[in-house]
């Protein structure tokens, strides 16, 4: 019984060590490549979403919108991983203090940062999944450079935010 309790907590409550979670993410990407022949990427799913919502031919959706189906699974995965202690919240870690506990500021902050993420990822040709996990593994030089740029920008901005501003 105790074993089952531990297993349940491991699967549906706890977070994992870096090697275990990395193994899972890697195997999922390999599984997608092996089962469907496709290259995993999340930004393409957002492009599909834009294409479906605006019906504008400027967007290039993936065949049969498979990328949109892929990203629709992500919230379900997040739910499953926290099934053991699920509850909804508007709290968001240290960002609560940065935005003075004001939800309006927090929403505005996330909308603007989200805009940077979407615009930048689309321009860079992919985000952390498409460029970092897949692109670097394929051996794409552009993806490796983009990944380094992601990290450099992230380190600079975070250090300014936490060591200079707050």
């Amino acid at each position: 019984m105790l074993f089952l309790t531990h297993l349940f907590q491991f699967l549906f409550t706890q977070t994992w060590a870096w090697w275990a979670a990395g193994l899972g993410l890697g195997l999922t990407a390999v599984g997608l490549a092996w089962f469907t022949g496709k290259r995993l990427g999340v930004t393409g799913g957002f492009e599909d979403a834009c294409s479906v919502m605006t019906k504008d031919s400027a967007f290039n959706p993936s065949p049969t919108n498979w990328k949109l189906w892929f990203i629709l699974g992500l919230p379900l995965g997040g739910l499953l991983a926290n099934l053991g202690h699920w509850s909804w919240t508007l709290l968001y870690g240290q960002l609560d203090a940065i935005t003075f506990g004001n939800n309006f500021y927090k929403i505005l902050w996330l909308l603007l940062s989200g805009f940077l993420i979407g615009f930048g990822a689309r321009w860079a040709g992919g985000c952390t999944s498409g460029n970092t996990i897949m692109g670097v593994s394929i051996g794409s030089k552009m993806s490796l450079l983009a990944t380094l740029a992601f990290l450099v920008a992230g380190v600079i901005v975070t250090n300014i935010l936490f060591k200079v501003v707050f």
């Binding site: 977070t15 870096w18 979670a21 990395g22 193994l23 993410l25 890697g26 999922t28 990407a29 390999v30 092996w34 089962f35 469907t36 022949g37 496709k38 999340v42 957002f46 492009e47 400027a58 049969t64 990328k67 629709l72 699974g73 992500l74 379900l76 995965g77 997040g78 926290n82 699920w86 968001y92 929403i107 505005l108 996330l110 989200g114 940077l116 993420i117 979407g118 990822a121 689309r122 321009w123 860079a124 040709g125 992919g126 985000c127 999944s129 460029n131 970092t132 996990i133 692109g135 394929i138 030089k141 552009m142 450079l145 983009a146 740029a149 992601f150 990290l151 992230g154 250090n159 936490f162």
Partner: protein, 167 residues
Amino acid sequence: MAPRKTRLKAIKTAAPRKASKLAPAENPIPYLGFGILFGYFLSKSRATDYDSIEAMFLCREFQLYGVIIVSVAVVSLGLFLLRRSGNKAYSGQAVEMEPLTWDPSRLAGAFLFGAGWALAGTCPGTSLAQIGEGKLIAVATVVGIVAGVWAYKKFKPGIAPKNDAVC
């Protein structure tokens, strides 16, 4: 009751599994399933946690660097084995793994992305997983990302690549 072997044979030959109406490539369910797995592991890795992302960028925790390194290693090895075995997917399609087109202006986009990643404490995939986790404030991030992807197409910067494929 018939002996075991005969019974097994009967199962194998009797009713061939009803073929899905959609061809494997068109059936959305496997893609949804892989999305669920990916979201599950993203959540397990703590990449959906604002404070973990900041701790990564402040170099206070190895966790998320470890996650990236292990996943890149696993995918590299997996794709190598896949190539060695003929580069054929289970669905019968060839495995499509073209590298991203070269264009230095993409680095400008990458810097914007990195800044957004740090400010929001999430990337596109994890923002969706966060909603499932119950962190409902992430809806704002997702709306922002959709707006950003839309705006890129509408107001494409002059220096942006002409052939701008996306993963």
